[in-house]
Amino acid sequence: MLPRALFAAGTATVLACVAASGAPSGAQAQARPQYDTTLYRALTWREIGPYRGGRVTAVAGIVSQPYVYYLGATGGGVWKTVDGGMSWEPVSDSTVMAGSIGAIAVAPSDPNVVYVGTGESPPRGNVSPGNGMWKSTDAGRTWRRAGLQGAGQIAHLHVDPRNPDLVYAAALGHIFGPNDERGVFRSRDGGASWQNVLSRDAQAGAIDLAVDPTNPRIMYAALWQVRRSPWALESGGPGSGLFKSTDAGDTWTEITRNQGLPAGTIGKIGVTVSPADPDRVWAIVEAEEGGVFRSDNGGRTWARVNSDRRLRQRAWYYTHIYADPEDDETVYVLNTGFYKSVDGGKTYTTIRVPHGDNHALWIARNDARRMINGNDGGANVSYNGGATWTDQQNQPTAQMYHAFATSDFHYRVCGGQQDNSTICVPFRTDGGGITWSDYYRLGGCESGYVAVRPDRPNVSYAGCYGGQLDRYDLATGQERSIMVWPENPMGWGADSLKHRFQWTYPIVLSPHDPNILYVTSQYVHRSTNEGQTWETISPDLTRNDKSKQGPSGGPITKDNTSVEYYGTIFALAPSPRDANVFWAGSDDGLVHITRDGGASWQNVTPRDLPEWALISIIDASPYDPGTAYVAATRYKLDDFAPYLYKTTDFGRSWRKITAGIPATHFVRVVRADPDRRGLLYAGGEFGVYVSFDDGARWQSLRLNLPVTPIHDLIVHRTDLIAATHGRGFWVLDDLTPLHQLTDQVAASATHLFQPRDAYRLAASGSGVDRTGFARNPPDGIVVRYAFKNAPKEEVTLEFLDAAGGVIRSFSNKGREEEAEGGGGGFFGGGQAETVPAEQGMNQFAFNMRHPGFKRFPGMIMWGARSSGPMAVPGTYQVRLRVGDWSETRTVQYLKDPRSAATQADLQAQFDLLTRIRDRVSEANEAVIRIRDIKSQLDDVIKRVAGHADADTITKAARGLTTRLSDVEGEIYQVRNRSGQDPLNFPIKLNNKLGALASFLDGSDARPTDQAATVFEQLSAALQTHLDRLEAVMENDIPAFNAFVAERNVPAVILREPRARRAAG
């Protein structure tokens, strides 16, 4: 056994929980926000999908709770299911400050205790760094930091089966550079402090840890020497090795070279102990003579039992092995496939999983049928040993590379999803939400940019790694390869290629002419005939350092997929102001400009930009051709600083603009708002930021967005769209309040923002809240207003027509008019009634529906529209009142441009719906009056008991009641008691009228002629009964009153009913 002193780096070093060592810590750079963030607090990010999973490398289950599991997405945070994987909810969004999750472990002795290690361990090109350990003691509801902030990527966690405070972490360390905080760590106090119990050097960290469940003092750990740089991945070296401890980690013995294990350079190792026979240990080893090795004597000697390359290909990405908890002959290996051996590891069969590329597995200790598996498509649960799995369309953790918004009225947000396909998701639908049936794919594949023609949105151009480029026609499904140079480069290093196309290379349509398409390798290529031919319009605009273009991978396993192709143009930005101006940024740190359409290019790289930075995004100013913004990053060089630059003189000089962005929050994208000069947005690993002064100061715009890597932002039709690398696409609906935010607004006690013009959408809804559905934005007009302090007076919002007539009025004191009654069968509604009135910005959405019909308690109708008619397109006003203060804004309510209906058609529809609404109200008022009189008649009967004329009065009262009930029963089905009773008891006139409204509503169209006829008939029938009621009122009731008055009995009082109007 080697003494601990041999592992000098960090051995027995106790790290305090709060210690930080260079990894992203979130330290705030010194800059005061320009505006109090509460001034835009009511703006919200809205998730739009796609609802499909992204890579998961951490999973965990609970032995005693068979339907509860956790998954850790590699950009999407921690998720939990309580129904066996049928649905998932994010549980770490509010506190865990990293989206990349590397490991999860639940304390077996107390499942309320959950540990999370951030930073996924597979170091693929898009790997995101972690920021240490997090812990929950309430089963995932809340989290707090638990140390190891500098540990980079945390690959594995183990919690002692009896003690929830005794936890081990296998920390890989910084994946992009050397650091000391790596190896196996142990905490005896629940993560408050950590002891580094096994480490080798600053290059190698711990990748796996296996503990003997029958004796947790015995453990095996694998160290791995690995480095990811922008141009290479290196797996293996003297730092890799296999170790064993028999004293709970106090001391370790290296067993890498024990008899039977491979000689030569060692790379990644996975290790597992059989719970059924703890002397049996398997290891899967990356080595020239690697494979699956087995020891039957606790690691003393080994034998290679399998060398199949299916199990050890692309070793840096996989190399995972798991012993079956019950059978010592059964072992599982993860690679692109999921493999199972029942003969001690010699031969394997494939277990089908919903998605390939497997990284994680948890098997219930007491039941091998129950397992959760993580792969590049998400996590899936099985209750039958892998025969069937839950699906992955219930976890929106997609890693999107970029976003493109189409010119459709309901614009689509399109992009490539890591290890999946390109996909387009509408920002809203005409249904109740956004779901699978609304998605479609374009050409290309997982990694690519996409560009959709604005003039023909069916036609798009989409990329894929290896320089693949497709022209896709959505109408025909035809996908034509239009590659610049259709020679597949797979497996070759960049230095041997004619064109170096990066994994994600720019594909850009000219903002001036949709017939001109640009793509970039180390050159800028242009096609004016949809890819039939290409011309190269630039020289090599990179540093073209051949030492960084060799084959990637090694020293054991090469891996060339174009992720590491280096010396490429990574960003291309044509100026929207000048068709001859282009900006090009390379992944090796150069910025070029052409001002003559590509005839000549000038190197305009910012002088203080450190070398080898990745120019991630260049945004050409929408205001003038000499202004541009650059987002660069060096995180793959272990430098997490943000690099943002601005030029206003065609690149002759640059100003660094990062004040206000935390010093370790690297950024990937910057965009200028086209509707307010100087308003900028930036996105990066840990958030979204906004600047109101052209980059001089930044402040957070993350709002409700989870902490998830932002890879792209685009501004489209005054919305801000984020392509996240772990949570799909998100939209910040409506940037217009940010356009209006000024010092004057900030200083105002009260301010009503000018609302954005809204479209009248007859068929839209926004109410679906179900797994697999994303919400639409609110219908109608969305109003924002801000208070310096929460007002004490009543706050009201009034919506007025052009003539100043009030359509609806809402207050912070409660509902305008409380709707009641009910049962099933009403259409419409969903309108919030209470106006929020808190300090800062508030938001209220009005669906532009006039008040609905009057209702009465207990009313049950079938298929009746209770909400009022939707306002016709036109000019409207919004008035905010606070006590005596008021402010009014004019807003346009626009016709749906897809609709063929004319304004006259919509007015006719509105008029008829209004007449129907009023007629239903009249019918219901009659019911209310009848019930009031009948109630009084009942009282009269009770009061006259014992009176000399009791019998006569009672008989007269009952006669009246009968006549009234007869009328009531013709107007309303009085036998209804439950929502579906109308199927048993035929609906009556008020319901038929209400249902007629529901037939007419929901589309932009003039009412049919027959609808008008039916209305007239129903209305006439109603009038007959209203006339009967009126006759009773005018004749019978006065006669009855006179009759009882003669006998000194109080009369029946005819009064107006206390009717209530339904919510709009």
Partner: protein
């Protein structure tokens, strides 16, 4: 895990979004339908209790080898089916089947039923189905339990007004003639489109 001697095989037949009938290859509950709406209700029926613990399940109607499971409607049956299967299997392994080991269902001799199943199956193939096929129907043999033949009528037989006549005077009589030890038949057909999801009351 100790596996049950005979692996449980389950066929799921969704009736609608909320109800699904699970047919098992052996009884896990005493005959005669009982409805369980909570774990407390099912204290003496471990299989029903386990199924009630499956997320989303709100009611279980158990009878012999048939479980009709009612869920809240939020999940597709394709997703719930493996969980129900898992719950049943786990409960069967963990306990003796059914609320009472001495119940008729538990007292079945599997070997005699198995032997009878083979003979009945031959008769279905050679006589009964060719006959009912002429009327557009089909009768499916599901199991033999304690001497009772469990079947389901399909095609033109399902919902047919003459189904009971066919059942009693045709099929049952034929079976009794050929195999005197047949005690009777149990028809689990949904003749009324799912209105009667467990054993029809007329069976004997």
């Amino acid at each position: 895990m100790t596996q049950a001697a005979t692996p449980i095989r389950i066929t799921a037949e969704p009736l609608d979004a909320r109800r699904c009938k699970f047919l098992l290859n052996r009884p896990v509950h005493a005959p005669g339908a009982r409805t369980y709406a909570s774990a407390d209700d099912a204290a003496d029926a471990p299989v029903a209790q386990a199924v009630l613990a499956v997320p989303g399940v709100c009611e279980v109607v158990a009878s012999g080898n048939v479980l009709t499971v009612v869920q809240d409607g939020a999940r597709p049956w394709s997703a719930l089916e493996p969980l129900v299967h898992y719950a049943v299997e786990t409960a069967v392994v963990a306990s003796t089947p059914g609320p009472s080991a001495s119940s008729p269902a538990a007292a079945v001799s599997p070997s005699s039923d198995d032997a009878m199943f083979d003979r009945v199956s031959d008769i279905f193939d050679s006589q009964i189905n060719p006959s009912v096929a002429q009327h557009g129907g089909k009768v499916e043999l599901l199991d033999v339990q304690d001497g009772f033949v469990v079947l389901r009528m399909m095609g033109g037989c399902q919902g047919c007004g003459m189904a009971n006549v066919t059942l009693r005077q045709g099929i049952e009589a034929s079976l009794r003639r050929a195999i005197p030890s047949v005690k009777g038949i149990r028809d689990i057909t949904d003749h009324a489109a799912g209105a009667n999801p467990y054993f029809a009351s007329g069976t004997k």
